[in-house]
C-alpha cells in the first residue's frame, strides 16, 4: 500500500470514528428540535428523524457539508408543512455532499426540497407530495436542485407539484433514475442543465411527462447533453393546472416527452403511450427574448427505438383537432415544429428521428402554428449523431442507491 492510500484510509477511518448520529424523535416542538440538529451537525454526521409525524411552522435549512438527513423510511417518517407560515420551501440545502433520504414530505407552501449551489447533492428514497391532489395552490417543485452539480435523484416519488415534480435547473452532471412522478404539471423537467441521464423512471398522470427545456435570460444557459432512456411515459392525462405565467403553463395536456431548445438530447428505448397531444414533441422556444447569447432552436436531437402506444389523438393545441384530422385522426408519434430560423440566425439542423412516422410542421417561426405546412415522413435525418457519454457521479454518491 502506498502512502497516499494509507493516508486515505486513515482519513476515512477518522471520519467514520468521529461521525455521530443526531436523533430527533417525532413530537411537539419539532421545528426547533430538527432545526437545531441541522445546525449542530458536523461534517460526516447523520441527522436521523424518527418514525412518526413531524409538524413544522417554518422552512428547515441545512448549511453543513457532508451531512445525511434520513428518516425511518418513506411513509414512516412524515414531515408535514401544512401549517407552514414562512419560507419558500420545506427544506433548503446550501452545502455540499448532502444526502436526504428515506422520508416523506407533505404539503409545503412553496417548493418541497431545494438545493442551491450544492455539489454532490442526493435525494434518495423520498416521497414529496401534496395530499389534496393536483391543485394550482400546491407548491411549484417537489425536489428542486438548482445551480447544483453532481445531482442524484433515485427512488423519489413526487405527486401534485403545480410546476415540475422533479425539477433540475441550471445544474450539471445529473442522474434521475428509478423515480416516479405523477399528478404534477410536469413530471420530470431538466432545464438549462448539462449532462443529465434520466432513466428507469415512471412519468404518469402528469400534464407533461418528461421535459427538457432551455430558457433565455438565466445565469446558466445553453443546456445540452441529456439522455432520456428506458422510462415509462404513459397516460399523462391530468389537465394542466399550472398558474398562468409559468413556462409549464404552456405545456399541452397529454405531452409525453417535450423538448424545447437545447442541444444534443437523445430519447431512446422508452415506452411512450396514452398521451393525447403527442408522444414526443420537439419545439423551438417561441417567446420574445433579447438575450443575444441564447439559441432557441433544438439541435442535434436523436429519437430512436422507443415503444410507442397510442398517442396524439386529441392534441391540446390551438388548431390541434384540425391537425389531428389532417393526419388521419391522430398525430404521428413524433411531432417537430421544424423551426430552423430565429431572430439571431438560421441553422441547418441535424436530427435523427428514427421512430416514425414524424410530423414535421415546417413552421416558419417558433410558436406560429398558423404557418404550419405539415409533412409526414417515415423518419427524419440520418444516424451518426454521437450519444452523450453516460453521466458518472462520484463513486460514494453513486453507491447511495438503495
Amino acid at each position: 500500500m502506498n502512502s497516499y492510500a494509507v493516508t486515505l484510509v486513515a482519513v476515512l477511518l477518522a471520519t467514520a470514528a468521529n461521525a455521530k448520529t443526531l436523533k430527533v424523535a417525532a413530537g411537539p416542538n419539532a421545528q426547533e428540535r430538527v432545526q437545531t440538529a441541522l445546525l449542530d451537525a458536523k461534517p460526516g454526521d447523520v441527522v436521523a428523524l424518527g418514525m412518526g409525524r413531524f409538524s413544522f411552522t417554518d422552512g428547515l435549512s441545512l448549511d453543513v457539508d457532508n451531512v445525511t438527513v434520513t428518516g425511518a423510511g418513506e411513509h414512516k417518517t412524515i414531515l408535514s408543512f401544512a401549517k407552514q407560515k414562512g419560507a419558500g420551501e420545506g427544506l433548503l440545502v446550501t452545502s455540499d455532499g448532502v444526502t436526504v433520504r428515506d422520508l416523506t414530505m407533505q404539503d409545503t407552501k412553496g417548493d418541497g426540497i431545494k438545493s442551491k449551489a450544492a455539489d454532490r447533492i442526493s435525494f434518495v428514497s423520498l416521497t414529496v407530495e401534496w395530499t389534496g391532489g393536483p391543485k394550482e395552490t400546491n407548491g411549484a417543485y417537489g425536489v428542486y436542485p438548482v445551480a447544483s452539480s453532481n445531482v442524484l435523484i433515485d427512488h423519489v416519488t413526487v405527486r401534485g407539484a403545480s410546476d415540475a415534480g422533479i425539477y433540475v435547473g441550471q445544474s450539471k452532471n445529473i442522474i434521475v433514475r428509478n423515480s416516479r412522478a405523477e399528478f404534477n404539471v410536469a413530471g420530470i423537467e431538466i432545464e438549462n442543465s448539462s449532462n443529465a441521464d434520466v432513466f428507469g423512471n415512471i412519468a404518469t398522470h402528469n400534464a407533461g411527462g418528461i421535459l427538457v427545456f432551455d430558457l433565455p435570460g438565466l445565469p446558466v444557459m445553453g443546456g445540452h447533453s441529456t439522455r432520456i432512456f428506458r422510462n415509462m411515459v404513459v397516460d399523462n392525462d391530468t389537465p394542466n393546472f399550472a398558474p398562468k405565467g409559468n413556462i409549464v403553463a404552456g405545456v399541452p395536456t397529454g405531452s409525453g416527452v417535450m423538448l424545447m431548445a437545447n442541444r444534443n438530447v437523445h430519447v431512446f428505448e422508452n415506452t411512450i403511450s396514452g398521451n393525447q397531444t403527442a408522444g414526443v414533441m420537439i419545439i423551438a422556444y417561441s417567446r420574445d427574448f433579447d438575450d443575444k447569447t441564447y439559441n432557441p432552436l433544438p439541435r442535434d436531437f436523436v429519437v430512436r427505438d422507443n415503444r410507442f402506444g397510442r398517442n396524439g389523438w386529441a392534441p391540446a393545441l390551438p388548431g390541434g383537432k384540425d391537425l389531428a384530422a389532417a393526419m388521419g385522426g391522430s398525430m404521428p408519434p413524433i411531432m417537430w415544429d421544424g423551426v430552423d430560423t430565429y431572430p439571431g440566425g438560421h441553422e441547418t439542423l441535424r436530427m435523427w428521428f428514427k421512430d416514425g412516422p414524424v410530423a414535421n410542421l415546417r413552421m416558419t417561426k417558433g410558436g406560429a402554428v398558423e404557418t404550419a405546412n405539415p409533412v409526414v415522413t417515415p423518419s427524419v435525418g440520418a444516424p451518426g449523431l454521437a450519444e452523450p457519454s453516460p453521466v458518472v457521479l462520484p463513486v460514494e454518491q453513486d453507491k447511495l442507491a438503495s
Binding site: 421545528q31 426547533e32 428540535r33 432545526q35 437545531t36 441541522l38 445546525l39 411552522t57 417554518d58 422552512g59 435549512s61 441545512l62 448549511d63 407552514q84 407560515k85 414562512g86 419560507a87 419558500g88 433548503l92 446550501t94 409545503t108 407552501k109 412553496g110 417548493d111 442551491k116 449551489a117 394550482e136 395552490t137 400546491n138 407548491g139 411549484a140 417543485y141 428542486y144 438548482v146 445551480a147 403545480s162 410546476d163 425539477y167 435547473g169 441550471q170 430558457l215 435570460g217 438565466l218 445565469p219 446558466v220 398558474p243 398562468k244 405565467g245 409559468n246 413556462i247 417567446r287 433579447d290 438575450d291
Partner: protein, 349 residues
Amino acid sequence: MRRLVALVAAVLILGVAPAPVALDLLLAETPAPTLSDYHLFTDASGRVPNAGLTPYGLNTPLFSDYSEKSRLLYLPPGARATYREIGVLDFPVGTTLVKTFAYPADLRRPSLGLRSIETRLLIHKSQGWVALTYVWNTGQTQAVLKRAGARLPVSFVDLKGARQNLDYAVPNQNQCKECHSLSGSLSPIGPKARNLNGEFTYTSGRENQLTHWSRLGNLVGAPDPKVAPRTAAWTDERAPLEDRARAYLDGNCGHCHNAAGMASNSGLFLNLEEADPAARGIGRRPVAAGRGSGNLDFDISPGHPEASILVYRMKSREPGVMMPELSRSMVHTEGVALIEAYLKSLPAR
C-alpha cells in the same frame, strides 16, 4: 487618609466604569448564551450602548413587519473601517454590527413603550462573518441565544390606529445567511457607503454619517459625502420617484436578487447596480415563480402595476407566494404604494 477619601469621592461621583465590550467573547468560537455577556450595552434591557459603539441608520432599510430597528457599530479599540465606493465598507476583524428589533405599543408614538423582540449580531471573525440572534424575555431583562429560530406573538397599533397581531418570525441561523449571502459567504447588507450617506441625529446633533464616522476615527478614506454615492431614502418625497423605488427594491429585494445572492438563479436582479432593464424585471417572464406568478405573465409589466408579479408577491401574505420570503408576514402598504406608482410611471409597451 485624605487620599483615600478623595478616591472614594471620585468613585462615588463617577460611578464604577462599566466593563468594556468583551471582544474575546465576540471572537470566541462558541457564542455566548446571553447577550449581556458581551457588554455591548451597559443596562440589562439593552437600551444604553457601551462606549465604543456608534449608532447608525440606513437611507433605505429592509421592511421588517413595521418593527423599529436600532443599529450600532462596534469596532475593536483602535480599529477602523476602510471606505469602499461600491459594496459594504471594508470592516476589520472584530467589527460587530448590532441590530435590535422592537415594537412600540402604538406606531404613531414610536418612542413610547418599546418592547425589544430580538437583537441580532453580525460579527466579523477572522474566518468570516457570523450571524447570531438573541431573543428578549418579556420582562426585557435578558436576551438569550436562539439558533433555531422562533415564532413570537406581537401586537401593536398601526399608523391608522388599528390593532395588528402577528406571529413575528425570528430567523434561524441559516436563514440569516439566506439574505446575508454573497457567493455563498455571509456578508453584511446595510452598511454600504451609499446607504450610510445621509444624516443621523446623534446626541451631539445632526451630522452626515460618513463625516461622523470619519471624524470619530471609525472610517478612513471616505471622500466628501457630496461626491460619495448615495441611495435615496425611500420616504424622501423630494427625491425622484424612480430613485426612491429602486432604492426600496434594492433594500428589500436586492440582497437576494443579485448575481451573487441567494436568488441568483432567478435571473431577476433588483440591486441598484443592475443596469439591464430586462434583468431588473421589466417585461421579464418568471422562471420558477410557481403559484407566485399569480396568473400574470411578467415580473414588471411597465405601466401596469396590477399586471406585475412583483406587486402581486409584495401584496401577498401567503408563504410560497409572498416576497421577500423571510422577514415579513405583513403587507408593507406604503412600500407597495411606492412601487405601484413607479411601475405605473414606466412607459407601457
